[in-house]
Amino acid sequence: MVDGVLVESIEEPDDLDGFTLDELSEYLDEGRTPINPAIEASPGCQMALSALERLKNVSWSMLEAEAHEAPERDNVWITGLLDNIRREIRAGRDIPLTSPDPDVRMILTEGSVRGLIRAACDQVDGVLIGRCVLAGDVTIPGEPIDVDVTASVAWGENLHQLARELRSIIRTALALHTELNVAAVNVTIEDIHTHNDGKAKEHS
């Protein structure tokens, strides 16, 4: 029962060579850096540190195990959540359109234009658009604006060619559906994901 002894030693500060459990816990939280030779050389501290580490690991395992226990329960609140947020779609700014009738004001919402850009770009194999920003005053007809998008693309793609393709798709889509005066379209490749599992590198 080595561990039985360990428990006793933890409760007995004398065995921690002058350190407290609290100090050891902080030392652990900081990744044991900078190295404290006195702690590292003390058998009592070493045992306490590994017990603390075990506790931390088991805590996370506990949380993860319990999180995956009730998928139907999570379905309930997630469905409710989505119903709620669909009712409050963010429209953003109003983008004017020329109206054939001077008495009728026609606008597109910024949100719908972003959606349009996302949908157009997502048609390209292995491309997922991230952020889409309409930079400039879109509320003034004819005002030059820039379109800035970030994207995640599949590993192995020709990035230059893909960026060119995306720029052209965005220009075409905006010319077709809006009257925006697009000065520049900037594509930033933010992530590369692999073909096999599709997992982006950033998410690990």
């Binding site: 506790l55 998928p71 999570d74 669909r86 972003r114 991230g130 995640s152 599709g198």
Partner: protein, 188 residues
């Protein structure tokens, strides 16, 4: 076919891409984030509250607020810790209300996981021991410990959250840690 492919891409997309799309109003991307982190956040809230019953509401509130504030998130890649902070705050709000109403005895203890026979087989004894030990801790000790070890909060943040002096938080953590370690080692 294309739609299925696009769905897979979205399901496996990085947090940063999903948070950016969601900030632009993409509900599908937001749903992927909710499914990716929501269950963990719900369990975390339950540990913090010491009660399983309110945790669904708390996590839903957290995601609703997140949806409304996502466009203010400066670093979309950090969306996971941002969401954790969000759910922590919502749980804390609940605890404050509960404190005000002074009906601490009113809440139901979490459904014991051991009630479920499949669970006993599936779950390791150690996890169960910890879960039980955590439930049995006094409220403030449990909250301080969950915020520190699972929420990654600093002493200062915990003190502010619980409205206690930092020295008290330190004491709470010392006691919680000792009890939990003791319980854990018994199961080894």
């Amino acid at each position: 076919m294309r739609e299925a492919q696009q769905n897979t891409l979205l399901l496996e997309a990085s947090d940063g891409i999903l948070a950016a799309r969601a900030a632009d109003g993409d509900v599908d991307a937001f749903e992927v984030l909710a499914r990716r982190y929501g269950p963990l956040m719900r369990v975390f809230a339950a540990k913090l509250l010491g009660s399983d019953v309110e945790s669904d509401d708390v996590v839903q509130e957290a995601f609703l607020t997140a949806w409304r504030q996502l466009d203010r998130l400066a670093e979309p890649r950090a969306v996971k810790s941002w969401l954790m902070r969000m759910v922590t705050n919502k749980a804390i709000d609940r605890m404050r209300v509960r404190k005000q109403h002074d009906d601490i005895d009113d809440y139901e203890p979490p459904a014991r996981s051991s009630d479920n026979p499949e669970r006993i087989i599936e779950m390791r004894m150690q996890l169960q021991a910890l879960s039980t030990a955590l439930t049995n801790l006094p409220d403030e000790q449990r909250q301080a410990w969950v915020l520190k070890e699972l929420g990654g909060s600093s002493y200062g943040e915990i003190a502010e959250t619980l409205g206690l002096p930092a020295s008290t938080v330190r004491g709470l953590l010392v006691r919680a840690r000792k009890t939990l370690m003791h319980e854990m080692e018994e199961w080894r």
